[in-house]
């Protein structure tokens, strides 16, 4: 991304360095040609009929001594007559006709580029013109050397700049990279503010993000309050309804009336359970969860054991416990609800006199909770579907809502834990949650 602008700056730098250094070099070479021209002018002889140019062989030899370039000359009388040298050497272009001083220009001689200077040589009362030309091998080589000489340091500087800029940008962006790592690594339910370390530049971003997080947390808290209030509003009248249906059922009643009140009573209990389950589902949503705290699954199961045993006794089921300490970070309400749903399911779908066992502990370094029963079990092809909300295996007796296992799955997901559903050791099934290392 930075390469094109740096290349442009480099080219500009080369041009800026090239021209000032090539000019004096060109002038020096031109001056050498002028010197040759002046020397050649000394060999013009004025005769009565005109001018003659005679170059001694020794001088000629000196002129030819340069190995790199070939020297050409042309001598022209004041009247424009050719008096010596190479007639094909081009005369100065017209724009130089009136100019004073050094006349130098580029031309082409026999297909090769040449540099030409024109020198005025005094001959008698007049002046002759001596043109001296030289091929450009030396000049080109010099130009190349100057160009390379100026480009090389520039390239070095450019490379150094690139490295410095790359490191600088990387270093400068490191806090941003750390910030995005921290945000990426966050669980969706973690609404705590982001730790605001790092340079000045990232602080406005962090505080804007924290502001947003605080608003989301606030919204989540008011949702929590709403849910708690809704539960209160719903449960109290349900308790009243249950009290009165139970009172009614304790009295002698005509048979059709008794059946109806029994139905009302059952519906009341189901409604209460459904309200609890919906509350649990809502609370397991990301963002709705309370802050995770360190909990012992054994303690949670122990605290609920009594309520579960009461439910089990009503259905003549032997509910047992194999509880080992298992600490996890989580939400006590949700974990209790997950276990209650598993126990309730096991009790609901076991035959009378069945055996249900609640276990907590550690397996292969992972905390787990599970409930095993010796009931009819769940056919393998039904296992994926029973985890869906409101799905019930066709032909299942009982009064379940089909929410129980869906709730357990969502609670597991909200704890970054995984739910499992296997065959039990004595038929039936073994359902539970395995927690991540922690």
């Amino acid at each position: 991304m930075l390469l094109p602008p740096i290349a442009a700056v480099l080219a500009l730098g080369a041009i800026v360095a090239y021209y000032p250094s090539i000019e004096p070099a060109t002038e020096a070479y031109d001056q050498a040609l002028v010197d040759v021209g002046v020397s050649l002018g000394a060999y013009i002889r004025s005769t009565g009929s005109g001018y003659r140019f005679e170059l001694p062989p020794a001088v000629e030899q000196v002129l030819r001594r340069d190995r790199a370039d070939t020297l050409y000359y042309r001598v022209i009388s004041p009247g424009g007559q050719e008096i010596g040298g190479d007639e094909s050497l081009p005369a100065p272009p017209p724009e130089f006709a009136t100019s004073e001083g050094l006349v130098s220009y580029d031309a082409v001689l026999r297909g090769a580029p040449v540099r030409v200077v024109s020198v005025e040589a005094p001959c008698g009362r007049s002046t002759c013109t001596v043109l001296v030309a030289e091929t450009t091998t030396k000049r080109s080589r010099l130009a190349r050397e100057i160009l390379i000489g100026s480009l090389f340091p520039e390239l070095l500087i450019a490379a150094a700049t690139l490295v410095i800029v790359w490191f600088g940008v990387k270093r400068g962006l490191a806090p941003l990279a750390r910030l995005s790592e921290e945000i990426k690594a966050r669980s969706p339910v973690d609404l705590r503010p982001i730790e605001a370390e790092g340079p000045e530049e990232t602080r406005p971003l962090v505080s804007a993000l924290n502001g947003l997080l605080a608003e989301v947390a606030q919204a989540s808290r008011s949702q929590q309050r709403f849910l708690a209030d809704a539960a209160h509003q719903l449960r109290t009248p349900l308790a009243g309804l249950q009290a009165h249906t139970e009172l009614a059922l304790a009295q002698p009643l005509p048979e059709p009336c008794r059946l109806q009140i029994e139905q009302v009573h059952e519906s009341t209990i189901r409604t209460a359970r459904l309200a609890n389950q919906l509350l649990a589902l809502a609370r397991a949503e990301p963002g709705a969860r309370g802050e995770a705290v360190e909990l012992d699954l054994k303690a949670i199961a122990g605290a609920e054991a009594e309520a579960w045993v009461r439910g089990a006794l009503a259905r003549d089921i032997d509910l047992g416990f194999e509880l080992e300490a298992a600490s996890v970070d989580g939400d006590a309400f949700l974990l209790r609800e997950a276990m209650s749903n598993l126990v309730h399911n096991a009790i609901e779908y076991s035959h009378r006199g069945g055996r249900v066992t609640v276990r907590t502990g550690r397996r292969n370094g992972h905390a787990y909770l599970e409930v095993e029963d010796d009931g009819p079990g769940i056919a393998p092809q039904e296992r994926a579907r029973v985890l869906e909300r409101f799905y019930r295996v066709p032909g299942t007796p009982g009064t379940g809502s089909g929410l129980g296992l869906a709730i357990v799955r969502e609670i597991a997901a909200s704890h970054a834990a995984s739910m499992f559903l296997d065959d039990g050791a004595a038929g039936g099934c073994r359902v539970g949650i395995t927690f991540p290392h922690g």
Binding site: H232, P237, A243, E246, L247
Partner: protein, 233 residues
């Protein structure tokens, strides 16, 4: 027994009132926390059933005031808290402030009446020298037990285990809790030893209909005594 129900939901309050009156208690009902505090200051109740979600002065505040006032008002009044909330800290808060038990709404009436009976029995055990559980009578002062009016021989540790279970009729008591309550005679008790005492207690009590249920892997529960000659069992 004199009971006070503090519940602002009229149908629930009247239902509770009728059920508890049917159990033979004298029941007062109020829907306001302030009225409950005032009533408890004037009269001695044997049990308060207190809803947490009251208008204005809530149940937590009522409980705090009841507990603050009780010092110059005789022994502590047992309080059974009713809550429609299920946040775990609500429960802890209730028990920290000195509630004796709590129930989450809605609940089955037999469970409520069982808890009420257990609380009343427990508070009497604190005051009275005799604990009665169906045909079983424990004279706490003389440390003598009677079953169907016949003296019952109990070893010291059997007595201790039975005392723990009797204090929590219809509640599960973990083996650890029994060990904690019974320990103090020096040597360590193993869960196996507790099993031995419970099985001895069973062989002595079950012929008279007093049943101790095992909760596999967890502990025991002394079942509420049901007079098999009575209605429905």
């Amino acid at each position: 027994m004199r009971l006070l129900i503090v519940e602002d939901d009229a149908p629930l309050a009247s239902g509770l009132c009728r059920i508890l009156e049917a159990e033979g208690h004298a029941v007062d009902v109020t829907s306001r926390g302030e009225a409950a505090v005032a009533a408890a200051a004037q009269e001695r109740f044997d049990l308060v059933i207190l809803d947490i979600g009251l208008p204005q002065m809530d149940g937590f505040e009522v409980l705090r005031r009841l507990r603050a006032a009780q010092k110059d008002n005789g022994g502590p009044v047992p309080v059974l808290v009713l809550t429609a909330r299920d946040a775990v800290d609500d429960r802890v808060r209730g028990l920290d402030l000195g509630a004796d038990d709590y129930m989450v709404k809605p609940f089955a009436m037999p469970e409520l009446t069982a808890r009420v009976r257990a609380l009343l029995r427990r508070s009497q055990a604190h005051h009275g020298p005799r604990v009665v559980h169906g045909p079983l009578v424990l004279d706490m002062v003389a440390r003598r037990a009677f079953l169907k009016n016949e003296p019952l021989e109990l070893a010291a540790r059997e007595w201790a285990v039975l005392e723990v279970l009797l204090a929590k009729v219809e509640k599960i008591v973990s083996k650890e809790a029994i060990i904690q309550a019974v320990a103090g005679w020096g040597d360590d008790l193993s869960p196996n030893a507790i099993e031995v005492y419970v099985s001895r207690l069973r062989s002595k009590l079950e012929p008279a209909g007093v049943r101790i249920r095992t909760v596999r892997g967890f502990g025991y529960m002394l079942e509420e005594y049901k007079d098999l000659q009575g209605l429905q069992g």
